[in-house]
Symmetry: C2
Subunit: 357 residues, 2 copies
DNA sequence: ATCGTTTCCGGGAACGTTTGCGTGATTCTT
DNA sequence: AAGAATCACGCAAACGTTCCCGGAAACGAT
């Protein structure tokens, strides 16, 4: 292959058509094995030859062909990511964290979106496997109840790390937020504001996070001797993908005989949608209905009203999950001990959760 | 390699350890060449053999190894993306569009972030080239003035498509929004609201979009006989990455002797930051200062006040750029005719741009 | 019977890399 | 000085594909 030094940008030599080990071998009159070994400083190669090869490789800016390496050692050095959507504050921040670690460790990241559909999730996993990814970073769709595909893969020793929306029945690495405490704190804040009639608008009941957040919600009610009313609990089984479903739930809550004074919302997308719907209905926040909810949006302090939110350290969660996954991938022995990392959420109190007189 | 049918999810057979052409050849007692040809329906293979091979491949869910294919025909079937940040509404939407097209056309996408730094941009391009991407989708960083690396690559026939922040001096495919018209319309809206003293807060002067938007801004002033005041023009050379820079610019504008009545903001990140800063200063929007700006955030209608914005069709821009890039990659002959696709922006008038009495 | 044509299939090189094994040359033993 | 040990390097296979080439078998034409 031809040498083509393209240009030098601030001292870095830019190449396009790249040199192979063969090119170096030919140029130096040695064998490819010698070049290969010299480049990794093998003791089998004489000091002089080693220097020659390394200097030449440096000069022509040799970079090993990652594709050839992949074929050789049957590792693609890529990881597959399964999330519901990238255009979602939580997930775009998590992906940011994923990329930052993966990039540094020499992996690249293939992102797929489920749009909360189980069928698309299955297809995506298929696609990622056919791409020969070395491992999977998964956040389940709202629709998913059947996790058998992951179970089989995991049993076969295929590295999988779940984050956020984890599979309860698979024993592997997991990285989650402390959903119970996040929900508990937010609910307690609403109670401290003076509310007793508190509803809970949340995502699909298939998701473990939904239950954890509900449990936190209920525990706060219990602690303060407030009875939980089942009619104050609204699930959006499509995880917020279907607007009408959310609108119906919100309208139901607002139209009840003894309608709630406050709503605690258990999902990012739902929180934003809920604000939008309530404002569209002309109901005053927080005058007529108070609000607190999970979201990772950075701009909710600019909202009317500023939103009280539970915020997850999405970036760190993404980073941590990726570290665990790559450690599993590169582990020489099958991993037996699995960790579940739990990180704290952050409660940010703003106007939307206050009681106005 | 061992056959391992993992499980069946709704009729789809899940595999982990995958079959190779060699496995099929061995199982059927034919050669690998025969299997390869049979699978692509070559006329050189007898009908009976063809059927046998295809049925068997179907049965074991054979999928060609993409890595081997890449090595063979020297194409990685991946495209590199260079953007400033993924956690940015415009770019996350654009990436969504990029992924949607790339996925369907069998490419995967490697995303890199410049964080508005030219050095990181250079390193990223290097990295993507060493990954042997088949083409590049680039939106320049705010700091970039030297585009020679792209120029060289392009001259060597390497496929590059620019979107949004394009390189003026490189003749290749480009996909952009109609920045002039977007800025013109927004400015004219402010004028129609009754403002004459209109400032322009915008991004780095290195970027072409900055000039186009300024030109639109100025053209609107000219049309309505309003003199352009140079002191009303504020650049943030770091594209909004440095908070202090924005804060200083905004404070400067507000502290002027004859301070502007309205600000037109020429960048996504700047618009949000600007609102935040002005609110923090306790200045009323739109009472004391009116605002209109470019942004792709979906939630600015929930802001206090709801924001008047120019919105770009980011998803479509991402899709179109990807289509053009893959068409270039897969073109048999060197492409000579380059298109510059310009798509219209959308002006959404809300409260922030109104004149209150 | 000979030649040409068609049909159908296998051998093997190539893509870029790593690595086990083999080997000639040098140095070290005693 | 002869054998052993060490050093420095090359050969070739392998990863999964594709594809050029070559060739056997069958058939038709003369």
């Amino acid at each position: 292959m031809l040498l083509t030094v393209l240009c030098s940008i601030r001292g870095t030599t830019i190449m396009f058509e790249s040199y192979t080990i063969k090119d170096i071998a030919k140029a130096l009159g040695v064998s490819t094995s010698t070049v290969s070994r010299a480049l990794k400083g093998s003791y089998e190669i004489g000091a002089e030859t080693k220097r020659l090869v390394q200097e030449y490789a440096e000069k022509v800016n040799y970079r090993p062909n990652p594709i050839a390496l992949s074929l050789k050692d049957q590792k693609s050095h890529s990881i597959g990511v399964v999330v519901c959507e990238v255009a979602n504050d939580y997930f775009s921040q998590a992906i940011n964290g994923i990329e930052s670690i993966a990039y540094n460790l020499g992996y690249h990241v293939i992102i797929t979106q489920t749009h909360e559909s189980f069928d698309r999730e299955t297809v995506n996993v298929q696609h990622l496997l056919s791409r020969h990814v070395d491992g999977l970073l998964v956040s389940l769709s709202a629709q998913t109840t059947d996790t058998s595909q992951y179970k089989y893969l995991h049993e076969k020793g295929f590295p999988i790390v779940f984050f956020d929306r984890v599979a309860a029945d698979i024993d592997t690495h997991k990285v989650i937020a402390n959903n119970f405490k996040g929900a508990f704190d937010a609910t307690e804040l609403l109670i401290a504001s003076g509310f007793k009639k508190i509803a809970h608008l949340t995502s699909s009941s298939n998701l473990l996070i939904t239950h954890e957040r509900f449990n936190g919600f209920k525990a706060a009610l219990d602690k303060h001797g407030i009875e939980f009313k089942p009619e104050y609990l609204k699930h959006c089984q499509h995880g917020g993908m279907i607007y009408d479903e959310i609108e119906l739930a919100v309208k139901d809550l607002l139209a009840m005989d003894t309608s709630p004074e406050a709503i605690f919302i258990g999902s990012d997308r739902l929180t934003i949608s809920c604000v939008s719907i309530i404002k569209k209905l002309g109901v005053k926040i927080p005058g007529e209905i108070a609000l607190a909810g999970f979201t990772n949006s950075d701009v909710v302090d600019l909202f009317d009203p500023p939103l009280t939110v539970v915020r997850q350290p999405a970036f760190q969660i993404g980073q941590r999950a990726t570290e665990l996954l790559i450690k599993t991938i590169e582990s020489k022995w099958p991993v037996e001990e699995y960790t579940t990392d739990m990180v704290d959420t952050e409660l940010i109190a703003r106007l939307s959760s206050q009681k106005l007189n």
